[in-house]
Symmetry: C2
Subunit: 377 residues, 2 copies
């Protein structure tokens, strides 16, 4: 991956090529060996005026005539690209596939970007009426607090923990620790969510190389198996949901994923979850079955999701501290889990990590994509 | 599919649901039987402010929690969605898959739409310097005329033939025949391309249902096999190409497709090709091997691609007469070939059609997607 951040010195094309080349080098292959590619980007059309970025990627990585296809599912675009790569290999049509995710978000102002991101929700029923994403997640946070006595301190604990992890990640946008007071005293965005409860606007790209499991052992680095790849949909608009305190799409997709992998939530050693807002991480660790519904806030405050806790969550720093270039996030999550399973995560390494999970959400939960990865034994 | 046209009375959501329900009814299945979906749309983010349309489709078709994913490759988005559906079924992950394509283009003015469509080419090297798509294809037309003595009459013959076919198609935007004089005397857009050499701006949607071949026989209608699905990339910008008189991506993708299907160009009974401009159809029938390079114009003028000709091209009316809602076009091409192979094409039916081909181009040729379909015997 590239470093995530306000990469004013790098354009969209620079970042996606840099990540792609890093992935190729990591795998120890040459570009000529690549049969196909998929790239996730939510909003290149609105953010930089460029659609058709699959072909752009083939062009700028020197891969022509290799077919590369763009996939979009809002903030879940990256892991949807991974799913297409996974299916392409599983179908037998292609063997070696590059999967990338990219977003260049800092070329526009915050208001424009917020409007564009609103296109991940229901534009007719939410965005056009003024509901931006902090507002939507604030509704979820308020309901979670009402039903389960979740507190602002519990939300803040997620941000503090993720910055602690991000401080150990050279690719993270924010590599500084923060305190509970910093979060609680930060500017209110959408009550109860303060600016330090929100993930930032970020530029960045990430890429991985896929191959059939039986072939993967021949590459440079230790291979990691994808043992589950699932996706579920829910209503685009929040107002149509059965509940506001969890994402049904995440509950369904993860239940199928555990079944595909033949494991239970307790078997997960490390997970990257979609903490676009602190409340999102609390709902995620409940939806994924790591904690009972309503107990995610308390667990976060107690440090049970820290690097040393029973289930380390967002060792990369998550969206909050590592940054959230929307189309790239899903692929970054995969990269982080691969590094953890290979024992390459340095100061943020989880001991004996053998099984990892990624949870990538599109919009306010209309799409959730789950992947489970395991060390190849 | 929906009727293509200026569908002012129908929104994006209406059209994509209408096409999806038509496809489900045609297959004689219920929505509950659908395991997954893919939808092609080039520019919903810029055209209507809505990304994340996979989830939107699941929502509005009542298919939640069925996973639906958006695929984008400019004007080839529709057939790229079909490819993902094909791979999903081939991978064994899903059996019954819905594939849609949709674009709502007439909510904005022509200048805005032209700018958005420019995002299918190289925005930094072409669009931002003023080169819109008619200009890019005009360069190709001029070079083709220079090298092969292709004439404006030959270009016009393509438009006349496609309107003749479109007049027989109840889904077409323009259901009227035109004369050679109408084309030659129409307003100049980008010399030598006149307005009647150009495909229009269109609203519309199309959808198909995929299933494993061995299962397809159990549905209501006669099944059609996908015997080849290929895709190739070329440079995004025209200035980097080796030649201007043909699309290398189309030549490569079709060569692989013929190999996959185990057939030759002469075995194709009917083809839908990407006539975004009349010159594009002439290049296509050469790139696909139906005619030698340089002879496509003459063949068109001689009527060899008409309904009664040796290789009927664009029986639907093509992009020119049937219309070109960019993300929907690739799926419409598939629908037309399926109708032809089933003998359901009415007044535009090609006799004894057993094998058909679709040729769908993204941008000025940076992506070409080829599918070959055959009657299941």
């Amino acid at each position: 991956m590239t470093r995530f951040g306000e990469n004013w010195e790098k354009g969209f094309r620079d970042m996606v090529t840099e990540a792609g080349i890093n992935a190729i080098n990591d795998a120890g292959i040459s570009g000529e060996e690549i049969n196909a590619g998929f790239v996730g980007s939510m909003a290149s059309g609105t953010l930089i005026g460029q659609e058709h970025i699959g072909a752009l990627l083939a062009d700028y990585m020197g891969l022509n005539p290799t077919p590369i296809t763009r996939v979009e599912g809002a903030c879940a675009s990256g892991s949807l690209a991974l799913r297409q790569g996974f299916m392409a290999v599983a179908s037998g049509l292609y063997d070696i596939v590059v999967v990338g995710g990219v977003e260049k978000m800092t070329d526009l102002g915050t208001t424009e970007v917020s409007t564009i991101l609103g296109g991940a929700g229901d534009q007719e029923w939410e965005l056009f009426l003024g509901a931006t994403f902090p507002g939507l997640y604030a509704l979820m946070a308020r309901r979670h607090m009402y039903e389960f006595n979740t507190t602002e301190e519990m939300l803040a604990a997620v941000a503090v923990k993720n910055h602690k992890n991000g401080a150990k990640n050279k690719y993270a946008q924010y590599q500084n620790e923060i305190t509970m007071d910093t979060v609680l005293n930060s500017k209110m965005v959408a009550d109860p969510l303060k600016i330090m409860d929100c993930s930032p606007i970020t530029d960045g790209a990430a890429a991985v190389i896929l191959a059939p499991s039986e072939m993967a052992g021949s590459f440079k680095k230790e291979p990691v198996n994808i043992v589950a790849s699932t996706q579920a949909s829910d209503t685009l608009a929040l107002h149509s949901r059965e509940t506001l305190t969890g994402l049904k799409s995440a509950q369904i997709a993860s239940a199928i994923a555990y079944k595909q992998a033949g494991i239970a939530p307790k078997d997960i050693d490390v997970a990257e979850v979609h903490d676009c807002f602190t409340i999102a991480e609390i709902m995620a660790i409940e939806d994924l079955g790591f904690f009972k519904k309503g107990e995610g806030g308390k667990a976060s405050l107690e440090g049970r999701t820290s690097l040393e806790g029973e289930i380390p969550i967002n060792t990369s720093g998550g969206l909050k501290s590592c940054g959230h270039p929307v189309g790239a996030t899903g692929v970054k999550q995969i990269a982080e889990i691969v590094w953890q399973l290979r024992g390459e995560a340095g100061k943020r390494q989880v001991k004996n990590a053998e099984t990892g999970l990624t949870h990538n959400v599109g919009g306010s939960g209309a799409t959730t994509v789950i992947h489970i990865l395991q060390k190849q034994r």
